[in-house]
């Protein structure tokens, strides 16, 4: 039995226990603990991915209890893919935190910050490896509570309200998830996902199953921030400290999407969601609406953070759209976009945070002339924005290309139009920003001198920006995991 699967989850949790203790003694040690825990998680994720690729799905029985009685951890290619994405982004965010948090969160909050962020990481990794529906709910709650606290941690104006709104909406979601889980347990007598998928077909015409599906969809829809359940997101994203925002947009909302995929494909199965109850086609329309509405809102924003937040909502829409098309190309594009968008959005939020760190600028209009001041950061911003718009040969282009192919394969040409239109809208608001940065003239006349970031912030930015370019050309690397993941999900 492979122990990496439990270690990948436990490492951040053990770190979260150690960090308050060490924080009592030396506050700076917390950062080291967090980096070490995130690094170890990344290492175990790579080991997991390696063994999934060589020997197929891995199962681990927690406490040695045999499923369906005990809790089972299952890592298939999709879980391994999510583990890698989450732990990579988390590691970079924790590294980035070093200088950023010292400046932005004064007053002894460092210990609690790192403790919470480790809980957040551990909870998300737990969600993607668990094979038990109730366990999924508990871990969702763990990372959600950490997320609410992280939104409020800065104590700045509006942070408490942002956190409160997030909490109220998201806890409606989690209550509905629990209710849906209860429904499924009542009718099948099991909580194990693999076991559920075996037993459910006997009850396909039962109202209880429809109810369960509806509750789970709405619950995870709120977590994923699908339109019109996205209202909590921009407030929370723009107020949280930047490394947290990066984890939110690159990982937390993707974990919601992952849970949706698990519920739809692993538990209910492809046949149920496309033929018996047309949930997947309905979801494609919801996703298309998410993409268009969020892109429209993004154009009208004056704050850089809020613009990026809305753009992030739109891109979750791409992931859901691709997966809900339920054809091979579309699912490949959707799942691949989880990774590609994590790179791009992570880089963009890091850059926005860097601008706040150096200059305190939050409004888009004030960005004029920053291209001369922080050339490396702004170059990275441009590269990531190019990937988000989907200009070849960036990573974003590849996943959007797959998505369009998927839409054509499914015979839904209207979604190709949606993708193209949304890409144009994305181009509108990113090119406006890039234009201001490099050609907007100099607002701070005569004061321009190069003023780059400390290395701990610059390195994550550059790694992600290069990732956007590299994975556009070497698409084969993420596809090695994505293709088997699609095979497993669609039951081929």
């Amino acid at each position: 039995m492979d122990d990496s699967i439990i270690l990948v989850v436990m490492t951040p949790f053990v770190g979260a226990y150690l960090s308050p203790l060490l924080g009592l003694w030396r506050e700076r040690l917390c950062h080291l603990v967090a980096v070490a825990a995130a690094l170890l998680s990344l290492f175990f994720s790579f080991r997991l991915a390696g063994s999934v690729l060589t020997s197929g799905t891995i199962r681990y029985w927690v406490g040695g209890w045999e499923p369906p009685w005990g809790i089972e951890l299952v890592v298939d290619p999709l879980s391994a893919f999510m583990c890698l994405t989450i732990s990579l982004v988390s590691l970079l965010a924790v590294i980035y935190s070093k200088n950023f948090i010292e400046k932005e969160l004064p007053g002894g909050k460092m210990t609690s910050y790192y403790t919470l962020i480790l809980l957040l990481i551990g909870g998300m990794l737990g969600v993607v490896v668990t094979g038990d529906l109730f366990n999924l709910f508990v871990l969702t709650e763990i990372f959600s509570v950490a997320a609410y606290a992280l939104v409020a941690i800065s104590g700045k104006r509006g942070s408490f309200i942002g956190s409160y709104r997030y909490l109220i909406l998201a806890s409606i979601g989690t209550s509905l998830i629990l209710l849906g889980t209860g429904y499924l347990y009542i009718i099948t007598g099991t909580l194990n996902m693999a076991d559920l998928s075996v037993r459910l077909p006997a009850f396909y015409d039962s109202w209880v199953v429809f109810g369960a599906l509806a509750f789970l969809l709405i619950g995870f829809g709120i977590k994923t921030a699908l339109f019109p359940l996205h209202t909590w997101l921009p407030g929370a994203y723009s107020i949280a400290p930047t490394p947290v925002t990066v984890i939110f947009s690159a990982a937390v909302s993707k974990v919601g999407g992952y849970s949706l995929i698990r519920v739809l494909f692993t538990i209910f199965g492809l046949e149920f969601i496309t033929d018996l109850v047309p949930v997947a086609p309905a979801l494609t329309w919801v996703a298309a609406a998410t993409i268009l509405v969020a892109s429209m809102f993004a154009i009208s924003q004056t704050s850089l953070m809020r613009m990026l937040a809305y753009s992030s909502v739109a891109h979750i829409g791409y992931v859901v759209l691709g997966v809900a098309l339920a054809v091979e190309m579309g699912m490949t594009g959707g799942i691949l976009h989880i990774f590609n968008h994590a790179l791009a959005t992570g880089c963009l939020f890091f850059c926005a945070g860097a601008v706040i760190y150096k200059t305190g600028i939050r409004r888009i209009d004030d960005l004029r002339g920053l291209g001369g001041k922080m050339p490396l950061t702004m170059a990275a911003f441009t590269l990531a924005a190019v990937s988000k718009v989907g200009i070849p040969p960036s990573a974003g282009f590849v996943s959007k290309f797959y998505l369009s192919l998927g839409a054509l394969e499914a015979g839904e040409w209207i979604f190709v139009i949606v993708i193209l239109l949304a890409s144009l809208m994305t181009a509108v608001f990113y090119l406006r920003v890039i234009n201001l940065i490099f050609f907007g003239g100099d607002k701070h006349e005569g004061k321009v001198q190069r003023d780059e970031l400390p290395l701990s912030m610059l390195v994550p930015i550059i790694i992600l920006a290069l990732g956007c370019a590299v994975f556009g050309i070497f698409v084969g690397i993420p596809l090695r995991l994505v293709e088997p993941a699609v095979m497993v999900l669609s039951g081929m």
């Binding site: 508990v138 709650e141 409020a152 408490f160 309200i161 806890s171 409606i172 989690t174 629990l178 209710l179």
Partner: protein, 116 residues
């Protein structure tokens, strides 16, 4: 007929009405404390549902004794216990936030807070 339906499904009907009351309070009520109360009512309705599903008429506690045949299902109880812990954490954190918001803005009216 209707009376019988109500009698048989009484716990579920209570659970559904509590669910609706909770949702109403969370979405429509403007007072932040009342929203938190709504959150509690909502989660309680889910707990009530799970507990009443686990109950069996004349069921014994789930400990194996030779002459007992019918047991109450223990697993939903374990789920509810976990759920209660989660709801406690959420409630306490939400109340802390409410105190902080009141200290900062001097109001608990969500409409007024939106305008700020």
């Amino acid at each position: 007929m209707i009376l019988e339906f109500i009698a048989v499904n009484f716990p579920y009907l209570v659970s559904v009405s509590l669910l609706l009351v909770g949702l109403y309070a969370m979405i429509v009520r403007r007072n932040l404390i009342k929203k938190i109360m709504g959150l509690n009512i909502l989660s309680t309705s889910v707990f009530l549902y799970l507990i009443s599903v686990a109950y069996k008429e004349g069921g014994a506690p789930p400990i194996r004794v030779s002459e007992v045949e019918v047991y109450v299902n223990p697993l939903p109880h374990a789920l509810v216990l976990t759920g209660i812990v989660v709801a406690l954490a959420l409630t306490s954190f939400a109340l802390v936030l409410t105190i902080k918001i009141y200290k900062e803005y001097g109001t608990l009216d969500s409409d007024k807070l939106m305008d700020l």
